[in-house]
């Protein structure tokens, strides 16, 4: 009964025992490894994996917060938001297969009446900009379209979504368009700014004007609708409750603006331009500012021509944008009130006067001969009044009343000899030559020409010519500062550049006795129920010291100019029931018609106002700007409006 030799099993050999032991040992080691790995994954790092599993299944869908309204000082709506629906594509849910993607675009194109190619191009462009953000294909698609898409979820899948969004709405259309600014989705460059640190991509932010300045109050915080999704990104049955985070609406912003005054200002500017065109001037643009001189609140501020910001609520076409910024249309996007830098003409004279009085060049009674023309400087340059008018020998009050150029030429000549460039330093003290600090982006500082500036641009020109080997770079003619420069500067000509807002601030400083107000638009931040959240305080004001008798002398001159016979704007304000202190200005600009200016102050115990108006290519100050100022003042004080054109031919 012995088994065949080669299949007979000998008793277990030491070799087999060893090898079985090796196999068993190997199994032990492998099981040990797996057990420790499991312990590490499940017990030691389990919490972290639970979080990852939750992050997997939860899709965060932003529910946009409505942007806060902007209201005027009386609580009237200036800008509001309305709910709209958007048709969006979720790029990472698009089918990977090209044919399936094309089919989806074709179907969507048929529904939205867009070409599939256009949809594809939009998606490709946006995905390049922002990798994972949803791409808006159409806004305000209409109920029928949304229903169609919702019913065919199987065709469109998770790739097409129709969320509710909010669009900006402007009930007053063109009103204050430039200063309100526009809104739009945050772009990749902005996402990196500290200013937008906690802002998620796809959020609508202010892109300009007030919308930009007070964006953090107006923006609100988007809500978070947390959906449970499966691996294909499709909504799944809620296995665990996911509480949504409600959107937080943006705060309401109250502006110092007065809608009525703003409307009247824009209309008055239009009428002034009409007057100028009637006088044969090719006027088509201008700006105005109405400022409370006691605290710097901007009551109205506008630039002409204006535009309807509604066009920016939806994506704007390139052609439309070009039309809004082209010079031939008057560049409606350009806010001339804060960014238009012009020579101011005779409206600068009170500044020259204050500088001369304070430095003792003259007293209010100093008589200065003011013939039609005078010769100044070693070069024998001749300077004449407008129309070579001879006013005889006059003192400051009359010089302001009739706007004698020669009187102020003399002041410019004398001031040039003084150390410290007194007119320049007083102009700077009164707020010219640097931004006023208004709560708007894009403000320009203008230019106060002086000896150092001229040397600087001369050097720049020389360097440029040496570098580019050209005859002229057009920066400067390389001539040094001369007394003639100062003479021109004294009457607001030459290289002086100032914005209408700066002129309003300078006049406010003179009339309020030396307080350089910081103009501002924002007054209060209120929550969406109208409760006060925060009062906006503009930065500290600066003080300039000057004697009240000097101030009074200048005000007397301005009062006379607006009321006395021979006053430059006396005929414009003929019959106007309020006291007005005003100065016309007619700025000569190379190669174009004179620019019409008027800056005035109307005192009132409760609602004093400084108004500055300018009309590009508008002719004499009394012809275009002053009549607009009268309309604005009439609106502010509630008196009957009358468009009265002046006839003064002085600058």
């Amino acid at each position: 009964m012995i088994s065949p030799v080669d299949d007979r099993r000998p008793p277990i050999t030491p070799q087999l025992a060893l090898r079985v032991a090796v196999l068993g040992g190997l199994a032990l080691v492998l099981f040990g490894i797996v057990f420790f790995r499991l312990w590490y994954l499940q017990v030691l790092s389990g919490d972290q994996y639970v979080q990852q599993a939750n992050a997997n299944r939860v899709r965060h869908v932003a529910t946009p917060a409505p942007r806060g309204d902007i209201v005027d000082r009386n609580g009237q709506i200036v800008v509001t938001s309305r709910a709209a629906t958007a048709v969006q594509i979720v790029p990472d849910q698009l089918p990977a297969d090209t044919a399936a993607r094309q089919l989806l675009y074709a179907r969507l194109g048929r529904v939205l009446q867009m070409s599939p190619g256009a949809i594809e191009a939009t998606v490709a462009k946006k995905v390049k900009q922002l990798r994972y953000a949803n791409v808006t294909i159409k806004l305000d698609a209409g109920r029928a379209v949304l229903d169609y898409i919702a019913e065919r979820g199987d065709q469109f899948g998770a790739a097409v979504v129709t969320p509710q969004v909010y669009l900006r709405q402007y009930p007053n259309r063109q009103l204050a368009a430039q200063l309100l600014g526009t809104v739009g989705e945050i772009d990749p460059a902005e996402l990196k700014l500290a200013r937008y640190r906690s802002v998620r991509q796809g959020t609508v932010i202010g892109k300009g004007g007030i919308e930009w300045s007070y964006d953090r109050y107006l923006r609100g915080r988007d809500g978070d609708k947390r959906e449970q999704v499966n691996a294909n990104g499709l909504p799944a049955r809620n296995i665990a409750r996911l509480a949504p985070v409600a959107p937080k609406p943006g705060h309401q912003l109250k502006l110092s603006l007065d809608i009525g005054l703003q409307k009247e200002g824009q209309s008055a500017l239009g009428q002034a331009i009409g007057l100028a065109q009637g006088n044969g001037h090719p006027a088509q643009a201008g700006a105005f500012v109405a400022l409370d001189p006691s605290n710097g609140q901007v009551l109205a501020m506008g630039s002409y021509p204006s535009f309807d910001p509604t066009v920016f609520a939806k994506p704007i076409s390139r052609a439309k944008y070009r039309a809004l910024s082209s010079q031939s249309n008057g560049a409606p996007l350009y806010d001339r009130a804060i960014a238009g830098q012009y020579p101011t003409g005779s409206t600068f004279k009170p500044i020259t006067a204050l500088a001369s009085l304070q430095t003792g060049l003259i007293t209010p009674e100093t008589p200065i001969a003011s013939p039609g023309c005078i010769t100044i400087g070693s070069a024998g340059q001749q300077f004449c009044s407008a129309g070579k008018a001879d006013f005889g020998t006059i003192s400051l009050r009359d010089a302001l009343r009739v706007s004698s150029d020669v009187y102020f030429y003399r002041l410019g000549e004398q001031a040039n000899g003084q150390s410290g460039e007194v007119i320049q330093s007083w102009a700077r003290r009164l707020g010219l030559g640097h931004p006023t600090g208004i709560d708007l982006p894009g403000e320009y500082g203008g230019l106060i020409p002086d000896r150092a500036w001229r040397a600087r641009v001369g050097l720049k020109e020389a360097r440029c010519r040496a570098r580019r080997h050209v005859a002229s770079c057009g920066i400067s003619d390389e001539r040094p500062w001369t007394v003639g420069d100062n003479v021109n500067f004294a009457v607001g000509q030459g290289d002086l550049q100032a914005t209408p807002l700066q002129m309003a601030v300078a006049y406010s400083t003179i009339v309020n006795g030396g307080r350089v107000v910081r103009p501002h638009l924002g007054l209060e931040v209120e929550d969406h129920l109208g409760r006060l959240v925060q009062r906006i305080t503009p930065g500290a004001t600066r003080h300039v010291a000057f004697s009240s008798s000097n101030r009074q002398a200048i005000l007397d001159g301005l009062r006379a100019a607006a009321s006395q016979p021979g006053g430059t704007s006396a005929d414009v304000f003929n019959g106007f029931p309020r006291v007005v202190y005003g100065k016309t200005g007619t700025a000569q600009r190379q190669g174009q018609d004179d620019q019409s200016w008027y800056v005035c102050y109307a005192p009132d115990a409760r609602r004093p106002v400084v108004v500055a108006v300018t009309v590009e290519k508008g002719g004499f100050g009394a012809e275009a700007a002053a009549p607009a100022a009268r309309l604005i003042l009439s609106q502010w004080f509630g008196v009957s409006k009358q468009l009265v054109a002046g006839h003064s031919r002085t600058r």
């Binding site: 090898r19 196999l23 994996y49 997997n56 299944r57 665990a240």
Partner: protein, 402 residues
Amino acid sequence: MTTAPLPIPGTPIQPAGEPPPPERVGLLPFDPLLALATLALCVCSLVTLNSATRGDVAGQPHFYVDRQALYFGVGLVAMVGLSRVDYSRLRELKYGLYAALLGTIVLVLVLGRAARGSQRAITLPFFSFQASELGKVLLILALAAFVVDRSRRLADRDTTARVMLLALIPAVLVIIQPDLGSGMVYVVIALAALFVAGSSWRHFAALAALGAVSISLVAVAAPAVGVTLLKPYQVDRLTAFLNPTDNPRKQGYQQIQSKIAIGSGQKTGRGHQATQTKLNFLPEHHTDFIFAVVGEQYGFVGAALVLSLYALLIWRALRILTMAKNLYGALVAGGIVAMLMFQVFVNVGMTVGIMPITGVTLPLMSYGGSSVLTTLLAVGLLQSIYAQGRAATAYKNRVLRF
């Protein structure tokens, strides 16, 4: 067999007057612990599939469970049947078994339908037959027979080379299918047969060196000269294992999701909140990644229980190896032990992120008729070896206990 035990040298001959030692043989014709581990794993598989695949087939919540139960039923019947047969008889069929192995694999290559880029199965009316799975058992039986034939010349390099060649032919064929996992199992089976038979350590060292050289040839040198032996997705899987976060949406995805699933199970599991499984983040959760489902739904407790059952299975298999009545039985048991160990470690290692994704099923747990049937046949063979060994040692009193 004689009824009276032969005296074993060294043991005192029993005095004639004393009664024989009590019969402990034949109480059970199978190993109860092995049977327990097998049945428990079947139950674990059904329980896990039941909760994991409820929503996979619309309208049929029990689609996978019903089919898996049917496979278990058929497989258990086959297992019991095989355990009643003397496995030694299969040794005579070695050429037929090997021919069947090669024949089915080639048939799959010729007829096989394309399923997810691979031709691994022959579609039958009620299920698709994966030849490479059943081939594992066929190869174990055939190779063990070849090794027994040359058991006197194990020291020859020639023997080692021939055995390895016999395994490499079907391995290369299934890798072409492509089924890299099964191909590697074939190689492991051959190594195990040689190891248990007692081949020289030097041969294994040489094989290891050869393997290292050929792997570097396949993975580095061949692509460099423009010959791709592995499919791109296989290369991606193997390299994605090294850096899963490089491309989380593609190759590393499965591994990352599997780790998240297991990790999020924590100590006691997420039960009905097992979102990784239920929301389909875990791919192939009824087949290759079923261990991750266990880990997520039942936590460390459940995963450890399943692993313990495998440990029990392998321990009993090793014990049966030592009890085999002949070398053939020991070699077959050794092959089965190696197959089970390799599959369990590679599959579980893959789900916990310490092994690359190779498409190796988890024996008994993974859904699939071929895999289930193969594993149950292997267990049936083990039971047969056990029963035969017990029957033989009942008289030889040669039970090694450990």
